[in-house]
């Protein structure tokens, strides 16, 4: 019997761009709702950040601190009683910062549960594998497409948030204290790295557990725990400064360690902070980013290894 197989698609070797576009659309089509949720999240958060800066909270707070620290005016750290606008602004910035640092576990939960584990459970992963997509390629595409979207969105938000922080610092809207110190050093490319770590931890967990729900929970927990463990070491691995020059610290505050009783206060009176100069920002961030990315690569490699072990 003849075995002539008719090719009904276009040219036998489709152009690489067409292939890439087709595969991108395929992954997006499968995870349409997640994509829209992510886009909505980025857009809404970006809008909130703009509103914080240009809206009533930001302008009112800037007004309170207008002209402070110059001759004839009060010091910037001694705020008048009832400066509610300033407190409101600080509170909002604090909330947004919490949101930005804690959505990596949410990404991990989605990656573990919906992206990978659900398809392993309901068999659509096997459907792809038996339809000419090798398991390695399948997982690579499944991770690459979200990685690009997550990096772009998180990068945009980080850039915006840093801009907001810098503006707030310039206008003396932030108060000295360990929280503000943390705010200065924690936000940047490292947040993007944590999000990517969440993605690969999710994939790894999906191959270790049975079912989407355990994968969801365990990957979120693992991601959160990782960031919680690394957090205190961010600045501790760097040597402390010994000079007492004012103005070298984050947001123009001092770079001296606080006195013992001052450190007990969330907000320090004398504008002292944990002893790292502002110039250490990029070394701290890049070290953390590099470390977290290495973890992400290890988790991703482990996911691929586990998958190859069970499927030829």
């Amino acid at each position: 019997m003849s075995s002539s197989i008719t090719t009904r698609t276009g040219p036998a070797a489709p152009s690489r761009i067409r292939t890439a576009r087709g595969r991108l659309l395929m992954v997006l089509r499968l995870h349409r709702s997640a994509m829209w949720i992510w886009i909505a999240f980025v857009v809404i958060t970006a809008a909130v950040l703009l509103w914080l800066r240009f809206g009533p909270y930001g302008t009112a707070a800037a007004q309170v601190q207008a002209g402070c620290g110059t001759s004839g005016h009060r010091a910037c750290s001694s705020t008048p009683l009832g400066a509610d606008a300033l407190h409101a602004f600080e509170y909002s910035v604090s909330n947004v910062s919490s949101l930005l640092r804690n959505f990596a576990p949410v990404v991990a939960a989605w990656a573990g549960g919906a992206l990978i584990a659900r398809e392993l459970e309901n068999g659509t992963a096997e459907l792809a594998w038996t339809q000419a997509i090798s398991p390695t390629r399948w997982l690579a595409e499944k991770l690459a497409v979200p990685a690009v979207l997550l990096t772009a969105g998180t990068g945009l938000l980080m850039f915006q948030f840093r801009g907001l922080l810098d503006w707030a610092g310039d206008h003396h809207l932030l108060r000295a204290g360990y929280e503000t110190n943390d705010l200065y050093f924690a936000f940047g490319p490292s947040i993007v790295a944590y999000v990517l770590l969440g993605l690969t931890i999710g994939a790894l967990t999906a191959f270790l557990t049975r079912g989407p729900l355990p994968a969801l929970g365990i990957s979120a927990l693992a991601t959160w725990t990782t960031s919680w463990v690394i957090n205190p070491w961010r600045t501790q691995i760097w040597p402390t400064v010994t000079d007492t020059a004012k103005g070298d610290g984050p947001f123009g505050f001092a770079a001296t360690p606080c006195e013992w009783d001052q450190a007990d206060f969330k907000y320090s009176i004398d504008a002292c902070l944990g002893a790292q100069p502002a110039s250490r920002y990029w070394p701290v961030q890049l070290t953390e980013t590099g470390f977290v990315l290495v973890l992400a690569v290890v988790a991703g490699a482990a996911a691929f290894w586990l998958m190859r072990r069970r499927t030829p």
Binding site: E126, Q131, A132, P312
Partner: protein, 316 residues
């Protein structure tokens, strides 16, 4: 016959999911030539699904070898179509999107027949293109799953209980479509079922698996021709085997009836009849000790060579 690769060739194939549990497949060896329509029969839990998944490249065997179309299952991925028992499909896609998904998944191999897929999916006119997969009935899902398999234009189709959810009309249509593909393209088709009657008439090759072991393998005609149903007349309560292999023997009135593989003429006064496919299969399922039968076409090449070597030794 030229030395063309078999559609499936297994030697000593064994599979167990974990060291503690019992093996699901034990030492299976067989050869399925290309172009056959094979019934993979056996009771539930016999290992049929596992065998199909091994052939589809979704599992690694614990021991033994399995080649598909002359290659390893992973290498032959683009030439095989597999439909799992659960007919997995992305639940939130529409029918059109699912077919497009199939086209996209097959882009690397460059062969997708959109018309064939649509013919199967929309064949009976009951499906609307915009319907979501999760709102489809079992039989409709089977249609879409088979549509993806047909669109792939594979050389080997591995179908796990394909007819399970189908109504009689759909069953006739889809079996007809499978036969049509086999006629036109010489596609090898392996269909598993635990209802042997379903596959009669369409299949010309049989692989019977029970308890993880292969009991029967070969062209159905040859396998049936190798068995005879003997009915013993009154007075003979024990079958005088005379060198026949007794598969199953049961009392019948004052005598007995036995399904045997005869070697020569049966001694004594026996009525010899041709058994039905169902009788042969049931006899082998009842008697777990019966020696397995592999016709020559169904014996893997390596075993054939070993057998020939052994018989040469015996002759020398």
């Amino acid at each position: 016959m030229t030395d063309s690769a078999a559609a499936l060739e297994a030697t000593g194939l064994s599979m167990s999911y974990s060291r503690r549990k019992e093996a699901v497949l034990v030492d299976c060896s067989f050869r399925l030539p290309q172009g056959r329509i094979c019934a993979l029969a056996g009771p539930n839990g016999a290992g049929k699904s596992t065998l199909l998944r091994l052939a589809a490249g979704l599992l690694r065997p614990s021991s033994g070898t399995l080649t598909v179309l002359g290659q390893t299952p992973a290498e032959a991925r683009s030439r095989i179509a597999y439909v799992a028992q659960s007919k997995p499909l992305p639940p939130h896609l529409s029918v059109t999107d699912t077919l497009r998904h199939g086209a996209e998944l097959n882009r690397p191999s460059g062969r997708w027949d959109q018309q064939a897929a649509e013919r199967i999916a929309y064949g009976d006119g009951g499906l609307k293109p915009a319907e979501k997969i999760r709102s489809l009935s079992g039989g409709q899902r089977t249609r879409i799953a088979l549509a993806l398999a047909f669109g792939k234009r594979a050389e080997l189709m591995l179908l796990d209980e394909p007819m399970a959810d189908l109504d009689p009309l759909a069953r006739r249509q889809l079996t007809g479509a499978l036969m049509s593909a086999a006629t036109e393209h010489g596609t090898t088709i392996v269909m598993s079922s635990h209802v042997i009657a379903e596959l009669e008439g369409s299949c010309d090759f049989l692989l019977l698996v029970a308890g993880g072991r292969l009991r029967l393998g070969g062209d159905i005609e040859e396998v049936m021709a190798a068995h005879t149903l003997l009915t013993g007349t009154s007075g003979t309560s024990v079958l005088d085997t005379g060198g026949h292999t007794v598969i199953d023997q049961r009392p019948a009135g004052r005598g007995c009836t036995a399904l045997v593989r005869p070697h020569g003429e049966p001694a004594g006064d026996w009525l010899a009849e041709r058994p039905t496919q169902e009788e042969v299969v049931l006899a082998h399922l009842r008697n777990t000790e019966a020696p397995p039968l592999l016709t020559e076409t169904a014996t893997p090449r390596s075993l054939q060579r070993a057998q020939r070597a052994r018989s040469q030794e015996n002759a020398a």
